[in-house]
């Protein structure tokens, strides 16, 4: 790799760790496809600092780069402060600002970001300059997060990746009454024992998930365009249910939705790094 001016973003989630590197010589507003930056995603390790180290070293190794090539780096997500203390990032920024920045940089028409990760769900409102206007996050409950889908897919015997597709293909839908992940699992088991087909249950689970997220959406309101980020954005059924409930189609993130937080961190690193 030739002479570069690298800016990095590290995003440690509850299930995966992401690193994104962007080349400062390019204008970030032109970064609209994944070929213009480097990215890596790995499953997390028990310690966020170890996850950060592993994901960064992998991205460096794969691209023939070294730590010293990094001009400025921002950490976000779990253990973001520790990652700064360990010298792997220059500063830390909350994942809310990173997702807002990431989504806005990918599409400047975005005003609402729905980010659903493994343990968090957030709805973020941004203005026409990309500033954070308001946000709301789930309370201490897994029901509206990726964890809910993970638990449910295991109960149904369907892979997490396939759950959305199975739900879309279903002929019917069983509505779940319980909003709590634990009780919903009991309810799903009960339906399975009664012989209800997996597809109808998958459809019910995805709708239940979307309803939960809609409760957050209503609290901050929706302004178009809407982008969904985070791992759950990959579930087509949840996404479609949300589009139906909001009444608008969401814009595509153009890059892997799980990378948007790390990408936003890298964009912020470029801004901070340039002013240093």
């Amino acid at each position: 790799m030739g002479k570069v001016m690298l800016y990095g973003g590290i995003d440690i989630g509850s299930l995966t760790a992401q690193a994104v590197l962007i080349d400062g010589k390019r204008q970030f507003s032109s970064v609209h496809n994944s070929s213009l930056f480097l990215a890596k995603s790995i499953p997390v390790k028990p310690n966020p600092v170890d996850s950060a180290k592993a994901v960064m070293e992998e991205i460096f190794r794969e691209n023939g780069l070294e730590w010293k090539d990094l001009n400025y780096c921002i950490s976000t997500g779990y253990g973001r402060e520790k990652i700064v203390e360990e010298g792997m990032a220059n500063e830390n920024v909350s994942e809310i600002s990173c997702h807002a920045t990431g989504a806005f940089s990918l599409d400047p028409d975005v005003r609402t970001v729905i980010d659903i990760g493994g343990q968090d769900a957030k709805v973020i409102r941004i203005d026409e300059s990309g500033n954070l206007v308001n946000f709301v996050m789930n309370d201490k409950c897994a029901a509206g997060t990726g964890r809910f889908l993970e638990v449910m897919s295991r109960t149904l015997g369907v892979s997490l990746e396939d759950l959305g597709g199975v739900a879309l293909k279903a002929r019917g839908r069983v509505d779940l009454s319980a909003r709590c992940s634990i009780f919903a699992e009991t309810e799903v088991l009960h339906f399975l024992q009664r012989g209800i087909d997996v597809g109808s249950l998958a459809a019910g689970i995805c709708r239940s998930m979307a309803e939960r997220v809609m409760a957050l959406v209503r609290r901050v309101g929706v302004e178009k365009e809407v982008m969904m980020t985070g791992g759950v954005a990959k579930n087509v059924a949840v996404k479609r249910e949300l589009e139906r409930m909001i009444g608008t189609r969401m814009v595509d993130s153009k890059i892997d939705s799980q990378l948007v937080g790390a990408y936003g961190a890298a964009v912020l690193a470029m801004k901070s790094g340039r002013s240093v």
Binding site: I74, Y78, V93, I96, S97, N131, L132, F135, L268, K271
Partner: protein, 385 residues
Amino acid sequence: MVEDNMQKVINLASEIFNEEVKAWKEAGGRVIGYSCVMTPPELIQAAGFLPYRIRALGNVKTEKADSYLSRFNCSFCRSCLELGLDGTYDFLDGLVETNGCDHLRGMFENWQYAKKTEYFHYLKVPHVINENSLDYFEEEIRLFKESLEAYSGKKVDAESLARAAGEQEAVRERVRKIYSLRERELPAFSGFEATALVLVSSAISPQRFLELADQIITEREGGKIAYRGTRLMLCGAATDELELVKAIESLDGVIVTDSLCYGTRAYARIIDPQAMLSKPERTLAEAYLLDLLCPRMYEDYARRRDYVLKAVERSNVDGVIVMHNKFCDVHGVDNVQLRMDLERRGIPVLQLEKEYGSIADVGRIKTRVQAFLERIGVIESGGRL
């Protein structure tokens, strides 16, 4: 080297059975615990006891308490009850219950059921303010005084009540002074320090607190704390969690004022000690009911809102954090309205629901507070494009 006075306060605030209470007990004194801001400590003190405001200091273990209360009771009440059951509060000779909320009642009644302290009194506080409720509360204050007299074995005379009221008023006056120094443009106290001072003010004798507070006020009056960033106000439920305040302030924000039960709300009232000589019960009833800023009161939201709005303006606050413990209905409901009213006036608000004292919860709260600070954008963190 002489121990730093502020450090001494932080040490006292970090321990439930602190050295001052130990000394009081060793000298043969008795201690009466109360929790609710509607309990007049003047009466307890005038009867010869040390009034001690019950706190949990971030305790998260609630195994014993959960056998009495349920997991869907307020975690602050469960944490306090646990400390009552596990012996931490065995130095208390008595308890004063109020109907502040049903969780609190559950805490006190189960505590007394299990531990059977020597003295127990239930002070009933009306939920509305009018002439009838004032008469009722005056009678309740009289009953409380009589029960203290029965326990101490001697009458509470007007002079000792006036003396106690004078000292308690001096305590409130010092706390108000500390808050005025905290709220100014260059704060003399961090939120952490002010919270520690508030906690100590109701956990040691008034005389000792006044000594400490006067020294600290003299030391700090001309100075300022090192801080940068955003000026915050903290509102909501019972919060004696020093660590939480510290965690919030570790994020480029300083809490310059509050509307908390273990904060300004307990120190707003002004009582003339001389009034104790003529009509003590009526004076206390009026002071404790009319100046009560608590969401358990009916038809009184506008006053609570105005109290917050005034503090925001007075302290030049950039953003308000309103929080409540999970299952705290009174604050949970009030906070929604408060958030909407503040936002309508263009004041940024972060609404938080939390578990009391949970260390695991601190990370979750810090993420939200950090994003809130980035949103307000007073700090130059590179958090904006």
